[in-house]
């Protein structure tokens, strides 16, 4: 029991360390960092005091602590999947706009079409926003 507790907590701490040390960490919002920190803290407590999780589970009408953790995990995974999907679409859209810009500029150049006056529609919308 002690061994598994040690391993789990070591894993959580390592995850936390990697997340904080990550070079892109400064671009993640503070609220997300706090949420992640809270999640890690809850996980450490849950590993150290399984009885506590069971009392919380009983409080909300779930029999066992492990069941409550499972349900919460399912919900968290659902959020993760949707968030990841939307973020993937966002970065795909950015990539497509970049590639489109390259393709159009390259073609205009190749055909010798004057495009200096042509306003970049993306740049314009950025100015407005």
């Amino acid at each position: 029991m002690i061994i598994v507790q040690f391993l789990l907590i070591a894993a959580f701490l390592f995850l936390f360390y990697v997340a904080i040390r990550s070079r892109t960490a400064h671009s993640v919002s503070a609220s997300k960092k706090l949420l992640f920190f809270a999640l890690m803290a809850v996980l450490v407590v849950a590993v150290l005091a399984p009885g506590l999780v069971t009392s919380v589970a009983n409080l909300v009408g779930v029999g066992r602590g492990t069941d409550l953790v499972l349900y919460l995990m399912a919900v968290a995974f659902g959020f993760y999947v949707v968030n990841d999907y939307l973020r993937g679409q966002d970065s795909r859209n950015q990539l497509h706009r970049l590639a489109r810009r390259i393709a159009v500029l390259e073609a205009l150049e190749r055909y010798g079409i004057d495009h200096r006056d042509e306003a970049d529609p993306d740049a314009v919308s950025d100015d407005v926003g």
Binding site: A99, A103, E106, A107
Partner: protein
């Protein structure tokens, strides 16, 4: 504008066909791995080359953005690369655009003739129309027809973000959102063995439905 992805076999004759009625043709080569790009240049079309494969909707948007940089072009047509459309239909749509107070003219299979489509395909397309009418608020008889004609106003304001086959539904949503004056006209689709083998699988309808609903959720 013709979005092209691995259509080297037929793109040359499609371009030659279109050039008999239109002065300019813009082909967007969507990262084809075959000789499509060379065929486009050989046939005398403007070639815009995607550095990576991005999907038909993305290719259409690229074609629109290149074509609107050509100052002399006032009317635009989207045309499929696989030879399933007739240039005569495109001409009729352009004439309508020139003479009537319209921003965009859409081709419809169900007002016209469909040659060679299976019963199941027809049924699926009809279901897609019902779905589109319910979600977009625009009443059409054909939601996924690649033949469209529109004026410069539409070309300047069109912003397709759906990269894959979902773009057809997105264009209809844009018609509703931007209050384009639209009309549907009957067109003939020629389903050849070639176009059927290249066309989208029917299971794709599920993708289109899900993406359409997701777009509604995330935009509202």
């Amino acid at each position: 504008m013709v979005p092209v992805y691995n259509e080297a076999e037929v793109i040359g004759s499609v371009i030659a066909d279109v050039l008999t009625v239109c002065p300019t043709i813009v082909c967007v080569n969507d990262g084809s791995s075959d000789a499509s790009a060379a065929e486009i240049v050989k046939a005398g079309g403007y070639l815009v080359d995607h550095p990576i494969n991005m999907g038909q909707g993305a290719a259409l948007q690229t074609g629109i953005e290149f074509a609107r940089a050509l100052p002399h072009i006032q009317r635009f047509v989207t045309f499929d690369a696989d030879g399933q459309h007739l240039v005569a239909d495109a001409v009729r749509m352009l004439e309508l655009l020139a003479t009537e107070e319209l921003d965009i003219v859409l081709g419809s299979r169900f007002l016209g003739d469909t040659v060679g489509a299976s019963g199941a395909k027809k049924l699926l397309l009809k279901a897609a129309v019902k779905f589109s009418n319910a979600t977009s608020g625009i009443r059409l008889t054909d939601a996924h027809n690649g033949l469209r004609a529109f004026n410069r106003h539409v070309a300047e304001t069109m912003e397709i973000t759906a990269s894959d086959m979902t773009h057809a539904s997105e264009i209809i949503e844009l018609i509703a959102a931007n209050d384009y004056r639209y009309r549907e006209v009957p067109v003939t689709i020629h389903y050849t063995d070639y176009s059927t083998s290249k066309g989208q699988a029917s299971v794709n309808a599920v993708n289109i439905a899900v993406d359409t609903l997701l777009r509604r959720v995330t935009r509202s």
